[in-house]
Amino acid sequence: MTLTVPALRARRVRRNRRGPVAVVGAAVFLAVVVVAAVAAPLLAPYSPDATSLLDSLLPPGSPGHLLGTDSTGRDVLSRLLYGARLSLLAPLGVVLASTVLGVAVGLVAARGPRWADLLLSRTMDIAFAFPSLLLAMLAVAVFGAGLAAPMVALSIAYTPFVGRVVRSLAVQEGSRAYVESYAVMGFSTTWVTLRHLLPNLAPALAAQAALAFGYALIDLATLSFLGLGVRPPESDWGSMIAQAQPAILQGLPASAIVPGVTVLLTVIAVNLLGEHLGSSVGRTDRERA
Amino acid sequence: MTTTVDPRPVLEVEGLSLSVPGHDGPVPLLADVGLVVRPGETVGLVGESGSGKSLTIRTALGLTPRRARTAGRVTVDGLDVLSAGRGELRELRRHTAAMVFQDPRASVNGSRTIGAHLVEGLRAGGVDRRQARARAVELLERVGIREPARAMRRHPGEFSGGMLQRVVIAGALSTNPRLLLADEPTTALDVTTQAEVVSLLTSMQAEAGMGMVFVTHDLTLAAAVCDRVVVMYAGRVVEVAAGDELFRSPAHPYTAALLDAHPGLHGPRAALRAVPGRPLALAETPSGCSFRDRCTEADDACAEEVPALRRHGGSDAACLRPGREAWA
């Protein structure tokens, strides 16, 4: 998906219609997911790799297997818990890398010399032409299936999104009188940019990062679904769905739907939080205007 | 007051109160506002920001904030606006009353042409397309736009603020309304342009015999332009007086304070007398007189109840201690 820009645009003008209930719900859900990932060894009833071929594809609610088993008889709940680790860490890595890069690029473009702006903006325009999933697939074609290459590719693919948003926010923020007044008071551009401008962009960046996290989660899971992502012995929610796909046809879709719904809920929760952050940015904007 | 008094006012506001729902209960925005405008008359509405000027005149067109509660009576050319149905309101807006807003650039849809803006109002009023176009060109000519036919095809972005405000005025007057509501029509413009717009408005008004409400925060401008000036503070009317009268001898301490606080351009350079505190919204005001916190004359009596408008000299003032001799 390459939709960060419109999503952000939408954020800027959107009223925060959903009540805090949804936001609190989202936060609680994410907290549960994170705790589950961290405490997987404590919570999981089985080893995620423990197979039992003769107990395969048990439906949810089967004795001893709350969420059933998959096609090699592994416990779906245990795999879901352990899978949360890579499913969350990998997009987190992508978001961190692209945010750090994007912030650097965006700030230099917005506040640095004109030539740097021209160069970086042009580079970002070009990078935009590669949809993130395409870049990730290209990386897989080059370096083979696995998580590392797509993660690097996605980090690069998301950088211009962050960069462009940071640039435009920084330009907007930079035209605020306070930034100019610091210049008049004798502060250096770098100081003002890092000490005042950047912290003021933080909520918007956090909102952007949350949205990007959702997209990265989807992109990485899509790759796993297509068999181009995570490879055994590692596993994430995407690869769980991929492995469970044939069973859908046996009329036993549970082991695919459980991780599928988990992905969906996680993305919705992350988006909700991101929008909430974004709408609070919008509020201060309105107060200022 | 030099114009003949028509027995039937085009706008009559009586005891208008307005509140909107807030986090904890309704938030009052206007309280007991009264206003009368007769045909051919210009009434000024003056006050600092947030005093409720815009809310008051927008009510006359039925443009109240979402989920607002109103009380009192607002009559435009015989129509009770607050209880009017959607169709009646539309008729009112199409034929009887028109409004000019502060920022012409925000008022005109920047994506469409000047012509489209003008024709739209006429078409809504039931004029057919060809006639509407002809009428629009004519109007542009009347408000002093050169090459009106060409201007019809141009976009707002190609006009200066002053020129655009002329277009807006042309649009407002296109349907020959009986009442014109001008909400700070010159605030966004240069001083020199302000004179042009004001003279355009007054001359057109005189020609058509409309009633006009002229909203401004500039007391001097109101005094110069209007037959009568209504001063608002914190959602209430505090004084009503003839323009020159108000200027010469303000009855309400707030009016006087405003005049004192404004540096003058003529006469000796007097020291400014600043008003302490800041203008309040109705919901923040203390009991009794809204202005008493900032008033030098106020005493305990002022806290007891909201003073009603009472005759004092040439004005009606809502004050227990009116009439301090003001700025000469």
């Binding site: 605020r176 009188a177 306070y178 100019e180 007044s181 610091y182 210049a183 008049v184 008071m185 004798g186 502060f187 250096s188 005042h196 003021n200 201060t284 107060e287 200022r288 | 600092e48 920001s49 736009i145 050169r146 090459e147 201007a151 200066s160 020129m163 240069d190 001083v191 020199t192 342009t193 302000q194 004179a195 042009e196 004001v198 003279s199 355009l200 007054t202 925060h217 001097t220 401008l221 005094a223 110069a224 332009v225 200027f247 004192d260 606080a261 404004h262 540096p263 003058g264 351009l265 350079r269 020291a271 400014l272 007398r273 600043a274 008003v275 302490p276 505190g277 800041r278 203008p279 900032r294």
Partner: protein
């Protein structure tokens, strides 16, 4: 104040600024005496802000010279940034936007003090308190975030912050335009008092002639980027010589004001501006 030199504190000659083919200002000259107050008036787009921004180094002049205390500061350079800051400061039109929204007013005022080496933590705290007192901000106001203050209070805070650097010149670009009349008077009287107390000089940019009359000694009337008239404020306003100045004055509403006549005069002055 620390200025010991004699002669004008600010001297501007032949200032010119172009944006591409558009000329923002052309040939602006003036001098500002120590402790004096110079007004710049003119219609929108006449180049007032551009001039002010060049003075404080936010904009680079295309041509001309700015002498601050006899020192050429025309081209802003990274190195001189702090030195210039100590001599000249600016107050912006919108007091809300001129603060970092995350910092309390105190913190904002303290920051430049730290940069310019105004002593240790305790001394800076004391200085901030003095400054707040000077502009009439209570301790509670000082501990508040900008968004919790009224427009007038914010503008006071901005003034306090600028004064902390002890500049010799304060440039005010429409510093009272966004304020309500009652508040505007508060700020104008404050500015007046500060000038008397500290001997700082003002460059006071405004489109409001009455305000300029109150706040300045000398005035510059600008139109289309050029100075059309200058002189003592009282004199220029009571006996304007240039037709544009006359028009400006006539445009200000007053009892018995005739907008139609003003409009006619405006049309006569600039027939090309129409349509």
């Amino acid at each position: 104040m620390s200025g010991t030199e004699t002669g004008p504190v600010l001297q501007v000659t032949g200032l010119r600024k172009t944006y591409g083919s558009a000329v923002a200002i052309d040939g602006v000259d003036f001098t500002l005496e120590r402790g004096g107050s110079l007004g710049i008036v003119g219609e929108s787009g006449s180049g007032k802000t551009t001039t002010a921004r060049i003075l404080v180094g936010l904009e680079r002049a295309t041509a001309g010279q700015v002498l601050l205390d006899g020192e050429d500061v025309t081209t802003p350079s990274r190195r001189d940034r702090r030195r210039r800051a100590r001599s000249i400061q600016m107050i912006f039109q919108d007091p809300y936007l001129s603060f970092d929204p995350r910092l309390t007013v105190e913190e904002s005022i303290a920051e430049p003090l730290r940069l310019h080496g105004h002593g240790d933590r305790a001394r800076i705290r004391a200085t901030v308190a003095t400054l707040c007192d000077q502009v009439g901000l209570s301790t509670r106001n000082a501990a508040a975030l900008p968004r919790d203050l009224s427009g007038g209070q914010r503008q006071r805070a901005a003034i306090a912050r600028a004064l902390g650097i002890e500049p010799r010149v304060l440039v005010l670009d429409e510093a009272v335009a966004a304020l309500d009349v009652s508040i505007q008077a508060q700020v104008l009287t404050l500015l007046d008092r500060i000038r008397r107390d500290t001997g700082v000089s003002y460059v006071f940019v405004s489109h409001d002639l009455a305000v300029v009359r109150y706040a300045t000694d000398t005035v510059l009337v600008m139109r289309h980027g050029a100075v059309v008239e200058e002189g003592g404020t009282e004199q220029v306003l009571s006996a304007p010589r240039h037709p544009y100045t006359q028009l400006l004055l006539a445009s200000v509403p007053a009892p018995g004001w005739d907008p139609a006549a003003v409009a006619a005069a405006n049309r006569a002055l600039a027939p090309a501006d129409r349509g």
